[in-house]
């Protein structure tokens, strides 16, 4: 269990984004193997055996997702790469798209071949202009080399990939909201069922995966599903990209085998808290995951089950580090400000509840809070998460509830100070 560069292999080199560099280091070898010596059914078996789970935050087993598509069903059938990396703290997909775009394409083409899909769209968030240009360049290179387009590697399989640029909506990271956005509409999540495999883009069967999930596919095909599974834990196969930022010595994206201990990652690889200060807390997987106090991290490993056992989630693997100087009330306020801004407004509990949470938390932050507010938040949260159309409800209720529970003392102190509470340096009130 340690750092292991598969997706990030050779990514530091200057031309890692070019197809020549990619091929030089074995890139598109998995594609050749998949197309020339494997059947779609065999590819599916390897993915299932790999225990690869979706890397976008939900962690749904890829092998099961791929089996939802009926390969012989009438087309067109679509593949979507979810590159709407908007979860605060997450920056791994941008890294991949900027410096190793071809690994994403190779994974997509193999997936499309396995599921019999006709065209793929890479939905890139509107802010990622440079990654969008990078993917476009890579796609052009791939077409030139015959890895995309008609009759790929002489197998008679056709597959096209197009990029799409969003325009600033975190909710479009939800797969059905993404599809609505791709269809040129407001990015409202859809009611489920039906699921994308039955009714997806333009109502056609569709599979949606995160950038990193596709990036994991070539190695699985190259080395076998079991190899990938064995790298990790029994239930979480392979490696995962962890992005670490905040009060940490060596912020950045690291690829670790699942099951690596938190201690090893944080202290040995990421260099511990910046400036030698004390660790206060971390958010383990992006702002939608419950915060963990420093004392709760004892014995935690970086895999889905271990983090869940601690009461949080893997999420996107985006670790945000808070040192002892952090004002947790401000963190709470900033998190809720984000969610209030990004709620799509479709359903009652989220549209009204999210804004209510933000108002309460804002009031607490500005020194006008009451202790009852904390109990109010916990009470309201119980009826938001289970009743929303999509997971956004849980996404703001869970981190808020966790912060309030775990830093109750600090928040109450802040409340008691009233108007003289510390709001942080030069704060900006929006």
């Amino acid at each position: 269990m340690a750092e292991k560069k598969i997706i990030l292999a050779n990514i530091e080199e200057e031309n890692s984004h070019t197809i020549d560099h990619y091929i030089k280091h074995g890139g598109y070898g998995a594609l050749e193997k998949a197309f020339k010596s494997m059947t779609p059914a065999q590819i599916l078996e390897e993915i299932k055996a790999s225990n690869l789970r979706g890397r976008g935050g939900a962690g749904f087993p890829a092998g099961i997702k791929w089996s939802f598509i009926k390969r012989d069903a009438e087309g067109p059938k679509y593949l979507i790469c979810n590159a709407d990396e908007g979860e605060p703290g997450t920056f791994k997909d941008r890294r991949i798209m900027m410096s190793k775009p071809h690994i994403v394409l190779e994974g997509m083409i193999i997936a499309a071949y396995c599921m019999g899909l006709d065209a793929g769209y890479i939905y890139i968030r509107g802010e990622f202009y440079d990654p969008y240009l990078s993917m476009d360049r890579a796609i052009e290179e791939a077409y030139k080399k015959g890895f995309l387009g008609k009759n790929i590697l002489g197998t008679g399989f056709n597959f096209d990939v197009y990029t799409y640029l969003g325009a600033g909506a975190y909710i479009c990271g939800d797969e059905t909201a993404l599809m609505n956005s791709l269809e040129g509409k407001r990015g409202y999540p859809r009611l489920k069922p039906p699921f994308p495999a039955q009714y997806g883009l333009y109502g056609r069967p569709t599979t949606v995966h995160n950038v990193e999930t596709f990036s994991a596919v070539p190695a699985i095909i190259e080395n076998g599903g079991k190899w990938y599974a064995d790298l990790g834990t029994p239930k979480s196969g392979g490696t995962k990209l962890f992005g670490i930022s905040g009060h940490v010595t060596n912020p950045g994206v690291y690829e670790l085998t699942l099951g690596t201990s938190w201690k090893e990652f944080f202290e040995d690889i990421a260099g511990g808290v910046k400036g030698g200060k004390k660790l206060k807390a971390i958010i383990p997987g992006g702002s939608s995951t419950p915060i963990l106090r420093a004392d709760e991290l004892e014995g935690m490993n970086l895999d889905y089950e271990s983090i869940q056992a601690k009461g949080s989630m893997m999420g996107t693997g985006a670790v945000i580090v808070f040192d002892e100087t952090t004002n947790m009330v401000k963190v709470l306020y900033r998190i809720m400000k984000f969610y209030a801004h990004e709620s799509c407004g479709q359903c009652t509990p989220c549209r009204e509840g999210c804004d209510w949470f933000y108002d309460i938390v804002k009031r607490i932050y500005h020194g006008e809070g009451k202790v009852e507010d904390l109990d109010r938040l916990e009470d309201l949260g119980k009826y938001i998460g289970p009743n929303t159309i999509c997971a956004f409800g849980d996404a703001f209720v869970m981190p808020t509830t966790a912060l309030v529970k775990k830093f109750r003392g600090e928040i109450i102190d802040h409340i008691k100070k009233g108007k003289s509470a510390d709001l942080g340096k030069d704060y900006h009130h929006a």
């Binding site: 009611l191 209030a340 990004e342 709620s343 407004g345 009652t348 009204e352």
Partner: protein, 504 residues
Amino acid sequence: MPDIIIDGKKVTFTGKANIIEMARSVGVEIPAFCYHPALSVSGNCRMCMVEVGMPAKDKSGAVQKDEKGETVISFMPKLQPACYQEPADGMVIKTDSEKVIETRKRILEFLLINHPLDCPVCDQAGECVLQDYSFQYGFTQSRFLEKKRTYGKTFFSDVITPELNRCIHCDRCSRFTKEIANDFSFTRTWRGNETELAALPDMKIEHNYQGNMVDICPVGALTLTDFRFKSRVWFLKNSEGICTSCGKGCNVVYAIDRNNKILRIKPRFNKNINSYWMCDYGRLRYPVFNEKRLTRFLIQGKEASRESAVEHVQKQITSNSRVGIVASAAESLEGCIALADLAKNFIKSEHIDYRVHSAQIKEDISLKNGEVLMVNDSYPNSMGAKKAHLLPGPNGLSAEMMLKNPEQLDILLVVIDDKLLENQVVVNAIKKAKKVILFSPWDLEWFGEVEAVLPLQVSLEQRGTFININGVEQKFEIVKSSEKNSHSMIEYVSLITQVATAVR
């Protein structure tokens, strides 16, 4: 046949079924805001959440039974929206569990935190779903201490006065505009808690079905400008009737106030004719029945008694040779038959015709499903008039001819209806004719000093039958009391011929 169990009651279903409707059919009311049977399912209000369970199956696929031999039902961990949940054979729905009841309370709480306490000044009070559900299912006190979300003042319609602060974002109005009215002029804009139902900036909604948006708005966010602040709904007497503004025969409800005035018309569901809707043209034409009503008998401009007026008319039409009758297709079928009988058997004149082409009504816009409300015939009973044979005999003059050259006649008899009030052709004909007898609900200056005017009831003040342009016969009852001294055509015919006809 597949069936589900709702609160212990079994409901069988075929094809596509909706759980809210199925529950209603066994007397279980599931509250909902955004659900409407004629609109697509939106599932956004989350008020209709219910417990959904299926028979539990063990590993072999066999249904599990408990010690008593009853089927074990495995309920889904989360509640599901009843409007959207597809029923499956054997499904069990619970609408009265603690979880469901508490969830309803909470959803109402969420809806009320930004909802202004406008009930004292809101038209919707008394017919407001939010009020009703709050009373039935909600908390009695608010726990909200923050500032309510407000919208700026907007204007996007002549028919609708919006109060957007009251909006609960159920999206019924925009779904209606798109799906039924076939117009894309109103939809959700912006995002999150700032989502605003709006038209394009500086633009208006122009379609002919805006009143329906007010009907289906569950709260007072969209109010009818015409009805604004006119009356509290609990002071209105509601009477079912048929719209008289065109030949479609939409089923409606007339709301009458304490002074016997019509204050409002709303559509009534009819599966075959107008579904849940009516057009704005018909909805807003009621003032004509309230105003300038005739309450006296007139002979040559002077007030007379009923007996003398009837006698005068009887003498005139029997002593003069050429009598022409311009009949009205706004009359009930029974009234038309009576008038036809008068013309044929009493007056013995061939000159009778209902086909007066009145003011042009606005070009119709068809709804999304191709169905058309507001047809090109502005009369509610043209087919009835035709059936009653209010048409000229082989040597008879048509209405057009009678009105163009009324001097051909000794007496021109006209039945005045609401479509003729401004009709210049009729006004001129009456001026030119030798002698004029009018049956009229209205007291109009241009009557001048015609030979006789008998005050007539409008169809809303009678019982009768209309036949719409598709040949559908519809009976209607009395909607409002008649004005002083006015009588129906049937009564007048009976009086004039002194023959007792079975009227009531």
